[in-house]
């Protein structure tokens, strides 16, 4: 009986999505009749129940796919309305039919089946949206760790070193070692599991109006600076401190460390456009052209400095115009 029912069920599941609504009812009716006629023995009760719930779920998914285009608007509503959404009346009928066939409490089984259907619908909707945690993805990445004898010694030594350092301060060793050999696979490889939600960024506090710092504030700040500025523990920290202060250069050495020359090369070389204030003939023009030639070859000045030079000459010659006209 079970084989026949499954065979007929398969054929109907294939037929159901293809057929239109008119045809969908006839196989369903057939199914309902089959379920109603089937006689259930007490010993096989559980197996049958599982089978039937599976069948109902299959039916439900097929009907959902069939009705997806129509019910898509319904599914897109918020989760609150989804819970309140009434189940498909056909599913309800199927559930009632199954419940009637079972020997035990009809109403209880019916309610249980309906609850299962609801949950199933919720999970299918969530899965369609891609919101649930796929356990398979989680477990696929996890691998059973096997303690190798070679690494055992390293781990024991790690445990011992965690207790006390030479100075008596409990400082843990560098953090890169647990990452390096605990995970043979790297930490950032693999699909995102979407288990953890990002902590919502706290709203930035509005800037408090800062009044002029009082003497007590200055004293407090000085105390904090004195306490937090511990002497460097080793040469590296000393070098870091020096680099921050500016005593030590940053490596690899950047030749243009202090310079911020935003100007292009043509602004350095073609300085004739600044010569508009000068007379076009005469010794002054000759002199200024020499000046420009020299400035264009100078790699040490910035464009602003060069322009300042030329402007100074302009001002100077304008002041001496009377003298020049006497000559």
């Amino acid at each position: 009986e079970k084989d026949e029912s499954t065979a007929s069920k398969d054929s109907t599941t294939e037929a159901a999505p293809q057929s239109q609504e008119d045809r969908a009812e006839t196989p369903k009716q057939k199914l309902l009749d089959i379920i109603g006629n089937m006689k259930v023995e007490v010993s096989y009760k559980k197996k049958l129940q599982q089978l039937k719930t599976r069948e109902i779920k299959k039916q439900a998914t097929n009907k959902l796919e069939g009705l997806d285009s129509e019910g898509s608007t319904l599914q897109k509503t918020t989760e609150d309305t989804q819970r309140g959404k009434p189940l498909n009346p056909e599913l309800v009928e199927a559930a009632s039919a199954v419940a009637s066939s079972l020997p035990r409490n009809k109403k209880q089984t019916e309610s249980e089946l309906l609850a299962q259907l609801r949950r199933h619908e919720e999970t299918t909707d969530k899965q369609k949206k891609g919101g649930t945690i796929n356990l398979r993805n989680v477990i696929s990445e996890m691998a059973v760790k096997r303690q190798s004898s070679a690494q055992r010694g390293v781990r024991i030594s790690n445990r011992i070193s965690l207790e006390l350092d030479e100075d008596g301060q409990r400082t843990k060793p560098e953090r890169f070692s647990p990452q390096s050999f605990d995970s043979r696979r790297s930490l950032k490889v693999g699909k995102r599991l979407n288990i953890f939600t990002k902590a919502s960024t706290e709203a930035e506090n509005a800037l408090k109006t800062v009044s002029s710092p009082t003497i007590w504030d200055l004293e407090f700040a000085k105390k904090i600076a004195a306490i937090t500025a511990q002497p460097p523990r080793n040469g590296f920290e000393e070098m870091i401190q020096w680099t921050k202060e500016g005593i030590l250069w940053e490596f690899p050495i950047d030749n243009e460390a202090g310079m911020e020359d935003d100007a292009e090369f043509h602004e350095h070389i073609f300085l004739e456009k600044h010569l508009e204030g000068f007379p076009k003939q005469g010794p002054i023009r000759h002199f200024m052209e020499l000046v420009i030639c020299g400035l264009s070859k100078n790699p040490y000045l910035s464009v602003k400095q060069k322009i300042e030079h030329i402007e100074w000459f302009q001002n100077y010659f304008e002041e001496k115009k009377e003298l020049l006209q006497e000559i």
Partner: protein, 128 residues
């Protein structure tokens, strides 16, 4: 904030009053000659551009000579301490005007003292 306050305090300790009001100068320079040298260096830095430009007018064969004579007078009017020729490379620690090696800015005595105590990087007693 505290670091800047500390820095301000430190700088105040080494402050030299501007040349306009030189009443009482409190500084940590070795002696007064060193202080004067410091002032000359500062002024030379401030007037360097102007001196360069006026000299460019002076040392010329193109511009008329009258202009150059005017430029001569102008450069003579600048403060005396602004010319770089007046700067003396003194020893940084002892303010000794003579026997100063330029690379280390130290006089020969101080240099020898530090080199013998192995406090000069890369310096070794010569023997060959």
């Amino acid at each position: 904030m505290a670091a800047s306050a500390l820095g301000w305090v430190l700088r105040a300790a080494r402050q030299v009053l501007p040349s306009s009001c030189t009443r009482q100068v409190r500084s940590y320079y070795v002696d007064w000659r060193m202080l004067r040298d410091v002032k000359r260096r500062k002024l030379a830095y401030e007037y360097a551009d102007e001196r360069l430009r006026i000299n460019a007018i002076r040392k010329n064969t193109i511009l008329p000579k009258e202009l150059q004579e005017v430029a001569d007078k102008e450069i003579a009017d600048l403060p005396r301490d602004s010319c770089p020729v007046r700067i003396r490379n003194r020893c940084v620690l002892t303010s000794r005007p003579r026997g100063v090696k330029r690379r280390w800015r130290l006089s020969r005595i101080v240099f020898r003292h530090f080199a013998d105590h192995a406090q000069m990087s890369g310096i070794q007693r010569a023997m060959w």
